[in-house]
Subunit: 244 residues, 2 copies
Amino acid sequence: MLSQSSSQMPLAVNHISVDCVVLGFDGEKVRVLLIKRVGEENGQVFHDMKLPGGLIFTDENLDDAARRVLRELTGIKSINLLQFKAYGSKDRTKNAKDVHWLERAIQMKVDRIVTIAYIALVRINRGLTNSSGENEICWVPLDEVKTLAFDHNIILADAIDVVRRHAEADPSYLFNLLPQKFTILQLRTLYERVYGKPQDVRNFQKKVNQLDYVVALDEHEQGVAHRAARLYRFDRKLFKRVRR
Amino acid sequence: MLSQSSSQMPLAVNHISVDCVVLGFDGEKVRVLLIKRVGEENGQVFHDMKLPGGLIFTDENLDDAARRVLRELTGIKSINLLQFKAYGSKDRTKNAKDVHWLERAIQMKVDRIVTIAYIALVRINRGLTNSSGENEICWVPLDEVKTLAFDHNIILADAIDVVRRHAEADPSYLFNLLPQKFTILQLRTLYERVYGKPQDVRNFQKKVNQLDYVVALDEHEQGVAHRAARLYRFDRKLFKRVRR
DNA sequence: ATGGCTTGTTGTGAACATTACAATAAGTAT
DNA sequence: ATACTTATTGTAATGTTCACAACAAGCCAT
């Protein structure tokens, strides 16, 4: 793990945090869960947004910390938490605004914070209960995300990339974003959003039909002003049994 | 990044290190670069091995720290350093042996060390210069790796997995392990070792031949007691131009 | 120089997966 | 009844993957 370094540079004693990129899908767009931040700069109050995150406790594993943060801020008990990258660049806190906010928040002098970033895919319609009181949370469509705190824009962009690659390797991954009963249109739209290109309607349907772990239900959607689409569900047990 | 936590748990102030999984290929087996460690337990001297790694300095980026550690320990200036996971489990230092060694090495009380793990693929025949003096380094075939320090066996196993997946996504990745001039047999053996299954000779050759960034040379291998195989080289510029 | 040994090099057909493409069915609203 | 909207379905062409074996080239021993 480490060597008796020949150098006499000072060792860093850093804070470690976790940040979560929580993604949801509303049937039309992929949205990311952000937290409103209220800060102060030169006596001016400012509002912006950041990813949900927090410092880890002594005696707490990284994954547990991510789970706790998510639960505290949103009530989400996420099952598919994926650690994807550590961010430790010195200039991730180059913005004075961020440093002021941070030092007031944790009431400590901050040298640097290394953050471990996680991705969680959730069903967007689940109820969110913000047990930490103060912070307002909201689902923002990916294409409407403005400048975020710290390097959170970079983290978010990296996360999308990881989701894309992970979904390719694991065909079950994106189902975490869909409601339990969904139409093929919803599934197709999701794939189009994630991969950024249109999917052929017939070929897509054909492909889904030959996945035995996507099972057709005897139900159709309700309250639409046209022919109602059949509902499907994802069968995780069947998926694990088949594994391709 | 963080929230004013409602909890009153103590915040952790942790050490942060980087560990490098350096992989090479000798034409037959994939090898990992390990460092011999000499420690003491109950007055008994013990010898074992660990991944190259070290604590990060204040003011040092994670990637820079990994690069520095690698350079100090091996002389390698690795260009393809890939950060792949952070390890922060409390019980990664559950072995008393490790804790003793660690606290003597850095002359500090150690609560926990979060380590950021990197992968570097290098040409195994490059000269290694261990500028840190003391520690002996060696290339160990993957299937001969014994129990390592800390959780380094886990890190190594994870790394192999990441290499496999990364190689699928980026066909240029594994060429970092080959000498500049190589035979198709070497390339094929490498793929067989990484993916753990035999590759059909003809199909493999055919596939390589239709990659225009693997260019045939007018040279053949020397000093073999049979028909000499043609040499090839990987053309990175062509690869970047094509990108499939 | 010959024959034997070892490894290098090459092609074809079958099975399978991917792509492109448009007409009809089912339900709602007027 | 008609218009409107979205759902659902098949086929042919193309490209990719896979399985499989005979001949070529160079070295060595005699």
